[in-house]
């Protein structure tokens, strides 16, 4: 019961924040709404017993990316943009298409709702790993099975750093 309540609460945060993000004229308002939405997502992670990700979400997403967004919003003078028309000309086609996609997804979800039931057989491994704790589990997997993707991800971050420095420099 509490589960559901928290779920709905965090869900409302997420969706509300999302809607406000998409519809605000002022970019800072959008950013704040996004922060709210991301915090809601973090809460949902926690509900799903993904503590590590909850922490990562808060630290990285909210504390890193959103701060970055806010810095950029400040750098870029958006006063002029705020006075402009906010929605582009293709908005109603986009709305229709997205609605159609939504209808399709709803249909899929409806159709496949029953298949989400996983047989309760494997609580064993869960139990075994549950004892280890979420972070240890992730660490174990990450540094053994997913070592290569981990290294590649670090290279990716390096590339991203270099790229963003290059992009943002005044003179190359």
């Amino acid at each position: 019961m509490m589960d559901a309540l928290f779920f709905y609460f965090f869900a409302a945060l997420v969706l509300g924040g999302a809607i406000f993000t998409v519809t605000r004229r002022n970019a800072v308002h959008s950013a704040i709404s996004l922060i709210v939405s991301l915090i809601g997502v973090a809460g949902l992670y926690l509900l799903q017993q993904a503590e590590f990700l909850f922490a990562v979400q808060i630290v990285l997403y909210v504390g890193g990316i959103m701060v970055l967004f806010l810095f950029v919003i400040m750098l870029v003078n958006l006063d002029q943009a705020a006075k402009q028309r906010q929605f582009n000309r293709q908005w109603w086609i986009a709305l229709v298409c997205v609605a159609a996609v939504g209808v399709e997804i709803a249909y899929f979800v409806r159709k496949g709702a029953g298949s989400f039931h996983v047989p309760q057989a494997p609580p064993g491994p869960v139990a075994a790993t549950a004892a280890a704790g979420n972070t240890e589990q992730i660490a174990t997997m990450l540094f053994s099975q997913y070592l290569l993707p981990f290294e590649i991800a670090s290279v990716l971050l390096l590339v991203a750093v270099v790229g963003s420095v290059v992009m943002a420099k005044k003179r190359i």
Binding site: N88, A94, C97, V98, V101, E104, I105
Partner: protein
């Protein structure tokens, strides 16, 4: 040697002379060609236009020579002598050969000799009028029979005398060699004409003498009047030639042949009946041939060229327009006597035309003041007599008159040339007079000739003219009216000839003073031919004395000689009708009386009382003007034909040229431009259009594809979503 078989030499001699002269004469003639060719002995002060400009430096020399008495004939040196010997020599050779041939002919049994050289017009079969098949051919052949023998003797004999005369007369002229070349050429063509054995070859000579006449009339080509006269002669002759050609072709069609011997044979064989009733094919044929004769022999209405032809040098007038060329028509009609005998209608036309021409020309001659014009009209009048004779069926009489006329008319012309030479180029009789003591030989020879032409008994003209008048009266074809006209003309002839004599030689001298000092007799080269012709004028008449006079033998030689040509016996028999001797004596006396009266009237008016002509002229002004203006015939022709054809034709042809020819050219231009327009249109719209069409298709088909590239990222993102939609939709639909 056989003169008869080589009669082709007779025309060949003068042809050689002509060829030598015309091809190489430039090198023989020492006189520079740039000098103006003018009448001999002309004082440059008299002459009008260009002579003065060219010869101003020369005038003095010439005048000097006149004063000192220049020597004729040695002007220009030895080369001129060569020409003077060569050309008359050629004609002399022809004369000798002709004499020989005639002599041999006289001794041969059948009095007719035909020599065929080669086939000239190759045969081509054709259908005659009555359906039979005949061959269109003519050969280059010569026929010597009594008629042509008379002609060749006249042509070569009198031609030779005139050549000799010309060596003296033309001595001062430029173009000496050219003159003799043309003269020899003329003799050649005339001999071809009279020696031909068929009408086609006769026509070759016919055309040739016409050509030489044009060349010689226009000899002084620097004068416009001479060139015009030459053209007039040629064109008027051409009108007649058209008739001749038609007649010849009709003859081909009806008779199938044009050879004289064959034609005469067919016509006299009785195959054709005489067309007494109406105008049939034969009459048409005869009439067409006569039209040709009209042009060549200067009868009405084609006589207008002969007076103008006096622009040529005087020897030319003597030879061509008195003795020979103009008699070609008479010869041709005489040759066709068999045809004319069968066609009384045409013969009547011939006689009427001849008589009318005779009196018309005589009336004009009455008031002419140029000595040569009088003689020209006299020639036309005498030719009218010849045709009158032909028309009434007296063929041998016409030829006889031709024969005698050749003598005294040539003599008159040469004499007038001598007179003109003596008075330094003056041709107007009103500025002559009292010349008889100054140029005695000329005077006496012309005296003889004038008596002869007037018809004084004993001289040549009397016999022939009297015979014509008698035939006009008594022949079956003749009539009193024709006789009357002939008689009147005889009177007029006597009058105007002696008017000429009195005005020229007698009375007070009206000669211009500066000329008077230089009047002199002509050189021997000119006077000897005059004398020879005078002797001829006296004697030759005796070859044709009237039967009435009772002489026999040689005194009827002419008629007897020509008998085989005309089958004269038949003619004679038909003619000796109901007229007896006394009528003939009376008529003879009447004609002589007319002649004598004419002479005395002339003497009265021009010698004794010279003021009378002026008074008559004042009283009968209109009549005098009409006669003086030649009955305005030239003006009428000018209006009808020259202006009509020239201007009307010019208009028509001008319109044709502008509209049809230029229209064609313009049309071609328009067509080119139009086709270029079509080409442009094709190129612009079809060819370029195809290219542009392909590009348009590409553009149109690329447009929907192109507008997808908006450049906006969000549009692309939309496409991604739409793609995802479609992707899901596919699975949905499955």
């Amino acid at each position: 040697m056989n003169f008869l078989d080589q009669i082709w030499l007779i025309p060949l001699f003068p042809l050689c002379g002509a060829a030598l002269m015309l091809l190489f004469g430039k090198f023989l003639d020492p006189q520079p060609p740039s000098a103006v060719a003018i009448a001999p002995g002309v004082e440059h002060t008299h002459d009008d236009h260009d002579a003065d400009h060219h010869h101003h430096g020369h005038t003095h020399d010439h005048a000097h020579e006149h004063v000192t008495g220049h020597d004729h004939g040695h002007h220009g040196g030895g080369l001129k002598t060569l020409v003077s010997l060569l050309c008359p020599g050629m004609v002399l050779l022809s004369f000798i050969w002709s004499a020989g041939a005639v002599f041999q002919l006289a001794n041969s049994p059948e009095h007719s000799h035909q020599v065929i050289q080669f086939t000239w017009l190759a045969g081509m079969p054709f259908h005659m009028a009555d359906g039979r098949l005949a061959i269109f051919s003519a050969d280059w052949g010569f026929l010597l029979d009594p008629l042509s023998s008379v002609m060749i003797l006249v042509v070569t004999g009198i031609g030779f005398l005139i050549h000799v005369y010309s060596t003296g007369y033309m001595a001062h002229d430029n173009g000496f060699y050219r003159f003799f070349g043309y003269l020899n050429l003329f003799v050649f063509f005339m001999l071809m004409l009279v020696l031909a054995n068929n009408y086609a070859l006769l026509f070759v000579g016919w055309e040739g003498v016409g050509l030489c006449s044009y060349l010689l009339i226009g000899f002084y080509f620097h004068k416009k009047s001479a060139g015009d006269a030459g053209k007039k002669a040629f064109v008027v002759n051409r009108v007649g030639d058209a008739g001749f050609i038609l007649g010849m072709l009709l003859m081909f069609s009806v008779l199938g042949t044009v050879k004289f011997v064959d034609v005469n044979q067919i016509l006299r064989s009785g195959h054709f009946t005489a067309e007494t009733a109406g105008f049939g094919t034969l009459s048409a044929m005869a009439l067409l041939l006569f039209i040709g004769a009209t042009g060549k022999s200067a009868q009405f209405p084609l006589y207008v060229w002969l007076p103008d032809a006096m622009e040529g040098p005087t020897p030319v007038s003597a030879l061509i327009h008195a003795a020979t060329m103009v008699t070609a028509g008479v010869y041709m009609v005489a040759r066709s006597s068999a045809l004319f005998q069968l066609t009384p209608q045409t013969s009547t036309i011939v006689a009427v035309v001849g008589a009318f021409t005779a009196i018309l020309a005589a009336s004009i001659a009455l008031v002419q003041n140029d000595i040569k014009r009088v003689l020209a009209y006299s020639t036309v009048s005498q030719l009218g007599y010849m045709f009158l004779a032909l028309g009434v069926g007296a063929y041998w009489v016409a030829v006889f008159h031709l024969f005698t006329h050749a003598f005294f008319k040539a003599l008159l012309f040469l004499g007038s040339g001598s007179v003109i030479h003596a008075v330094g180029g003056e041709q107007d009789m009103r500025r002559m007079g009292a010349l008889k003591d100054k140029i005695p030989i000329t005077h006496w020879t012309m005296f003889v000739a004038s008596l002869a032409i007037a018809g004084i008994p004993g001289l040549a003209g009397f016999f022939s003219k009297d015979e014509i008048l008698w035939q006009a009266y008594s022949s079956k074809q003749g009539s009193n009216a024709l006789y009357g006209i002939g008689l009147l003309t005889a009177g007029l002839t006597a009058f105007y000839m002696w008017r000429l004599m009195y005005m020229t030689f007698y009375g007070k001298s009206r000669v211009a003073p500066e000329v008077e000092a230089h009047i002199h007799e002509s050189p021997a080269s000119m006077t000897v031919p005059l004398t020879a012709l005078a002797i001829g004028s006296v004697l030759v008449g005796w070859l044709g004395t009237p039967k009435l006079w009772g002489f026999t033998g040689w005194f009827h030689g002419f008629e007897q000689w020509l008998e085989p040509s005309f089958a004269s016996a038949a003619v004679e028999a038909a003619k000796e009708g109901a007229h007896d001797a006394s009528t003939e004596w009376i008529l003879m006396a009447v004609s002589v009386a007319f002649a004598v009266i004419g002479i005395f009237i002339a003497r009265f008016c021009y010698h004794l009382r010279p003021e009378i002509p002026g008074a008559i002229e004042a009283r009968c002004g209109p009549v005098h003007r009409t006669l003086s203006n030649k009955w305005y015939v030239d003006e009428l022709y000018d209006f009808l034909f020259v202006n009509g054809f020239a201007k009307g034709g010019g208009t028509v042809l001008g319109a044709f040229d502008r509209n049809v020819i230029d229209g064609g050219v313009n049309g071609a231009g328009w067509l080119t431009r139009f086709s270029s327009l079509v080409s442009i249109w094709w190129d612009t719209w079809i060819v370029d259009g195809t290219v542009r069409l392909t590009s348009l298709i590409v553009k149109l088909s690329s447009y929907p594809v192109r507008i997808v590239q908006t450049g906006r990222v969000q549009a692309y993102a939309l496409f991604v979503v739409v793609g995802a939609l479609a992707f899901f939709g596919y699975y949905l639909a499955r």
